[in-house]
């Protein structure tokens, strides 16, 4: 009975519809799709399109995936066994790096940027907005080409939306690669013009400003300069026609451009930027705060913004100290001893972390953090050291206890208790934060990451996450770009002046003299200042030092501790530094600490950088679709 009712009802509805004229039905305006005129007729509408374009900016290093920052043995990866193997059991990198992080080829994005720029000419919104929105889209386009240039060298430069005419012959759409110099020239020229069109407003951090454009110009120019100068180190990494390889005689020109652009920012022409120094009493805290303080941070020039409830990331969740964390998760990246020991002593000298005295005996320390005393304040701002705190909780990192007879007692789970001689109750024999090699997510090297970790309560919860923004350009980098450019132009006095400003913020009271400034110094200063921010990848490439640092030879303790100031120091395996506690009740040494260098047993490979790794791979699919593209060298 029911069925018949439904049938009747259906007929009724069907019949009702059929009464309308068919042409009306087909002619209705769609409710979900905006026409071009509608989209460009309303300022808020245009801004939302622009906001979509902003959200698709590309960067190799990104906070939304911590693994993008985990390479080059600056950290040991302890997130899970599979990822530990991916990073530490492979001798070589794929042509596009671990997990293809060094690849992007999004000409769809470029097409949308080109369409946006083209259509802004017919937009019916106030002229003032048209100018600024067009400039912002051009900034994003130049930024994306710049990312492509860093990865691939020369690529096809398309500045107008291409449309296929369905003639069966797509050859007119096939554009060859520009030369490597041309693409950097394009980025520099765009940035130069945009610096005059975009607002010179230091308070705008996450939308393009004159400061952002000038930063891009300075960085692109100094990168191009170093590529021109150091490409001769690897003469086989070139392509005929110049798609890879910038002529050496252009180096000085690029360095001059870089220095000028950096000086424009330093002189305040793009707004008032300065080094972050809100906490002069604790320079390590100050350095850490630079990355999470979103309240009028004078150092940030341009950032990829995150905002709680809208766009968040799990960087803090993945990397927070595991013990007492807001989630049973953390410790994915453990900074290596290689990185930790590269931070200088405050007297401007390099020295390994002192674990043994001259006679070869283990040095005993009263407090865990004493071993790191007198070092660059950036160390404590970049790395959570044993004995220091995060979110008000001291990390508990120690590998075991040494008994009076020299026997070492340890455990195989975090914070394990064991019976020790002379004690009635079981005692803790290993830290709640490890290090335990066979357990994931603890301080396997003895260190946790500090940089970009968010101290806000709740940042370590999956339901909440963190909204610390990723800084693309900051004032310290402008100073170091100026220093590098001045040094390469034969003016070490100027270089020392700029570099000393950055070092003073890190606690160095003795300024470097012009004689101190060397190539090794420039490379090292950038490594220390920008550790785990992403710049190191490009520095390895543009100085052509990667194949010497990652030469496939395994490391021993002596090798680890030697040549610390050298730009080409071997770093093929990530080492750790394990604290041990002395357990000798009644002895003055009881409760003191000593340290041992350790190569985590899961590190079985010694990394080799092949010359073909200097540029990312253009896949066969892309090469087949456009036969005009030249293949990358040595791949």
């Amino acid at each position: 009975m029911n069925k018949i009712n439904y049938l009747l009802l259906a007929l009724l509805f069907g019949g009702g519809w059929a009464c309308e004229s068919d042409s009306d039905f087909l002619d209705r305006t769609p409710a979900q799709i905006l026409t071009t005129e509608q989209a460009l007729g309303d300022a808020a509408q245009v801004e939302s399109i622009l906001s979509n374009l902003y959200s698709r900016q590309f960067s190799v290093a990104r906070l939304s995936d911590w693994r993008t920052m985990a390479d080059f043995n600056e950290v040991y990866v302890a997130s899970n066994d599979g990822q530990t193997n991916d990073f530490h059991n492979n001798n070589t990198w794929g042509w596009n790096g671990s997990y293809s992080f060094w690849g992007t080829w999004d000409y769809g994005y470029i097409r949308e940027l080109n369409l946006f720029i083209e259509r802004m000419e017919v937009a019916t919104i106030p002229e003032r907005l048209v100018t600024i929105y067009t400039a912002e889209a051009r900034y994003l386009r130049a930024a994306y080409y710049y990312e492509l240039a860093k990865l691939y060298g020369g690529v096809p430069i398309i500045l107008e939306p291409l449309t296929y005419d369905f003639s069966g012959d797509p050859t007119y759409l096939q554009v060859p690669r520009s030369t490597e110099a041309e693409i950097y020239d394009f980025v520099i020229a765009e940035a130069t013009e945009l610096a005059t069109l975009l607002p010179a407003d230091a308070s705008g951090k996450s939308r393009a400003t004159a400061g952002a454009a000038l930063s891009m110009k300075a960085q692109a120019a100094v990168y191009a300069g170093s590529l021109a100068k150091y490409n001769s180190v690897t003469p086989s990494v070139v392509l005929e026609g110049g798609a890879i390889g910038i002529p050496a005689d252009r180096a000085d020109g690029y360095y001059t451009t870089a220095l000028d652009a950096a000086r424009q920012i330093i002189n305040g022409e793009a707004g008032a930027y300065s080094l972050y120094a809100k906490n002069p009493n604790n320079l390590s805290e100050n350095f850490a705060a630079l990355f999470y303080d979103k309240n009028a941070n004078p150092e940030v020039i341009y950032q990829e913004e995150y905002l709680i409830k809208f766009k968040t990331h799990g960087y803090t969740i993945s990397n927070q100290p595991r013990f007492g964390a807001e989630e049973e998760e953390g410790g994915a990246m453990n900074p290596s001893l290689n990185l930790v020991q590269s931070f200088e002593l405050l007297d401007n000298t390099f020295a390994p972390i002192p674990t043994v005295d001259e006679a070869g005996n283990r040095i005993l320390y009263e407090n865990q953090e004493d071993i790191f005393a007198g070092r660059d304040a950036r160390l404590g701002g970049t790395v959570i050291l044993p004995g220091t705190s995060f979110k008000g909780r001291e990390v508990d990192i120690w590998a075991g206890v040494r008994l009076a007879d020299g026997e070492i007692v340890s455990g195989n789970e975090r914070g394990q208790l064991r019976e020790l001689p002379g004690s009635a109750t079981p005692q803790q024999v290993v830290g709640f934060d490890g290090p335990l090699e066979n357990t994931p997510q603890n301080a396997v090297t003895g260190f946790y990451v500090r940089k970009y970790l968010d101290p806000t309560p709740g940042s370590g919860q999956r339901g909440n996450q963190s909204d610390v923004s990723r800084i693309q350009y900051r004032y310290a980098e402008i100073l170091l770009i100026a220093a590098e450019a001045a040094f390469e132009l034969g003016d070490p006095a100027t270089a020392a002046g700029y570099m000393n400003q950055v070092r003073e913020r890190a606690g160095f009271m003795i300024p470097l003299t012009p004689e101190d400034i060397t190539f090794d110094r420039i490379v090292h200063e950038r490594r220390a200042e920008f550790a785990l921010e992403g710049q190191y990848y490009m520095d390895l490439k543009r100085f052509r030092i990667a194949h010497r640092i990652f030469d496939g030879v395994a490391m021993d303790v002596e090798g680890l501790k030697a040549n610390l100031g050298s730009a080409t120091k071997r770093s093929t395996q990530p080492w750790g530094l394990w604290p041990y506690k002395v357990y000798e009740p009644g002895s003055p040494d009881d409760g003191k600490w000593y340290y041992t260098e350790v190569l985590p047993s899961r590190v079985t490979a010694a990394d080799t950088w092949q010359l073909g790794n200097y540029y990312s791979n253009i896949s066969n699919d892309i090469l087949t679709n456009n036969p005009q593209l030249a293949r990358q060298p040595l791949q």
Partner: protein
Amino acid sequence: MRSIFQLLTLFAVAILVLASCEKDNFDAPETSLTGRLVYQGEPINVEYNRVSYELYQDGFGKVGPIGSTFTSEGEFSQVLFNGEYKMIIPIGQGPFVPLQNQSGQPDTIRIDLRGSEVIDIEVTPYWRFRNALISAGEGRVGATLSLEQIVTGDQARDIESVTLYVSKTAFANTQTNVATAAMGGGDIADMNSISLSVDIPEIQPVQNYVFASVGVKFAGVEDLLFSDTQRFDF
């Protein structure tokens, strides 16, 4: 009810069996193309997974290559369909003078495959081993060898280093080794008597044999040239 299920199952199986009979079943390729790198008939040993080659076949739309790398003995093998193939070794691969034509492009080796074929690819290494002798005893591996320069003139390359690799497996090279002894090119007084030796470290788990070979790196060339790998039982 049950019989309906049985019928349906039977029907489903029948569909699966019958449907997979025709178009989606191609004959697998069965013509093998194998070959090796040689210099005047002498095989060239390289490092596994490092020296690549590419095979192209025209006439089927897209022109992407298939390719792989040479084995440590300098060999390669592919199972293919009959047809015309072009093979190249990309410039910069291998410890030998690049095979290139006058315009600087990789020189093409044309292969008309009509049945299984074995080809020798003639290449010219910059130097070659003479009397490479590796021996082991008393917990040490030693090597004596001489090197003879083959390529002279503009394309000549200096020797950057000579290294003895000891390994747990037959892959005794830069990637998998347990002990190495290296000598810089500048430290070699006489190319006719180079000797290297290294202690065999303790191997976990214990094994009573090791492999060893000697690799030579030429300045400005990424891939190493290797001597024959030898096994030593003790």
